[in-house]
Symmetry: C2
Subunit: 203 residues, 2 copies
């Protein structure tokens, strides 16, 4: 445990450790597989995370085939290639910039939000980026809730990935996440974090 | 419980409910206060959430004074004003676009990342937006871990908030979050979520 679990929280200490205190960005993995059932359980938990107007721009591509892995790895930054090639499962997380098409069905008490707020593409892109990132973070937490290490990466050719895996011009990759059980020596020593007083002010 | 807790996850069912399944975006709150100690416990848990290059752009302004509340509420969209005025505590979450100044101390094994990747402001802004949003999501989860409802909002005059609470031109508000114990009838019925097959594909 990196620091003592905090009993000012309601969440139990084991869950604090699992999701935050002992969870780390793994760089190496064992060969234990990650099943579709486990990813579905992750999704069915984290889909409830809050977003603006209940928009759900997040899209997830699970890379399972050797061919898919090859198409992915070639767009990764060199430093990310070995771990992306060897992780038991890799997920490409992207924002769908046309998420507004689903708003009437996903926000039934306010279906007019689609046209009132999201008729312009730049507004949608900005909203999909922010809310897709919130959903990406919920997904990372969910992967940890399933007992796996998540290794999120943003070092890649984003345009290349967008074209390679979506190709419709409507999706923007947010992160690529390696998923699996950490191997020995899976991580660097924990890097520092800013202190509370450096981040939080009160007015 | 909105759906059955999933035993394909390692996280226990009570924690699943607390963080996702029973957690909701509250619109009304009791007058039970939210202490600085509780927010510090939240921060000291969620600060461990992963970001690219261990960057930590998130800044949090806790609005506690009557004067601060007035300065905040005037920039909120009309529909958000009453709950922002009445929540026990409101947090303004913003991204610091000059986060790179802290990279050498926060990423001690790779201090040259600051100059290699973040010398250009537009790159920093884009990175701060994405990683600040990840941290905002971790914070929302942390508020729930402390037993409170979080009510994140993006309906406000962003430029007005940036000038009112930061004024240095270097911060971009990400969300405003009402925090407190939910009152009776604190929420609308749960809106739908996209099904797994609508979000996840496999290659």
């Amino acid at each position: 445990m990196t620091t003592a679990a905090n009993d000012a929280l309601v969440l139990d200490a084991a869950a604090q450790d699992l999701l935050f205190r002992e969870a780390r960005t793994a760089n190496t993995f064992t060969d234990e597989p990650v099943s579709d059932e486990q990813i579905q359980a992750v999704y069915d938990l984290v889909k409830y995370g809050p977003t603006a107007f209940n928009q759900q721009p997040l899209r997830i591509v699970l890379v399972r085939s050797a061919e898919g892995r090859e198409r992915l790895v070639k767009h990764m930054a060199d430093g990310n290639k070995p771990k992306t090639a060897s992780a038991p499962l890799v997920a490409i997380l992207a924002a769908d910039n046309e998420f507004h098409e689903e708003l009437p069905s996903q926000l039934p008490h306010f279906p007019q939000a689609k046209d009132m707020f999201f008729s312009e593409r730049p507004v949608r892109e900005s909203s999909a980026q922010l809310n897709g990132a919130l959903q990406a973070a919920y997904f990372i937490i969910g992967v940890r809730a399933a007992g796996f290490a998540a290794g999120p990466m943003t070092g890649y050719d984003a345009d290349g990935l967008n074209k390679e895996f979506f190709g419709d011009g409507d999706h923007s990759v947010l992160a690529v996440v390696n998923i699996g059980k950490p191997a020995e020596d899976a991580w660097f020593p924990r890097s520092p974090r800013l202190a509370y007083d450096e981040v939080v002010t009160t007015v």
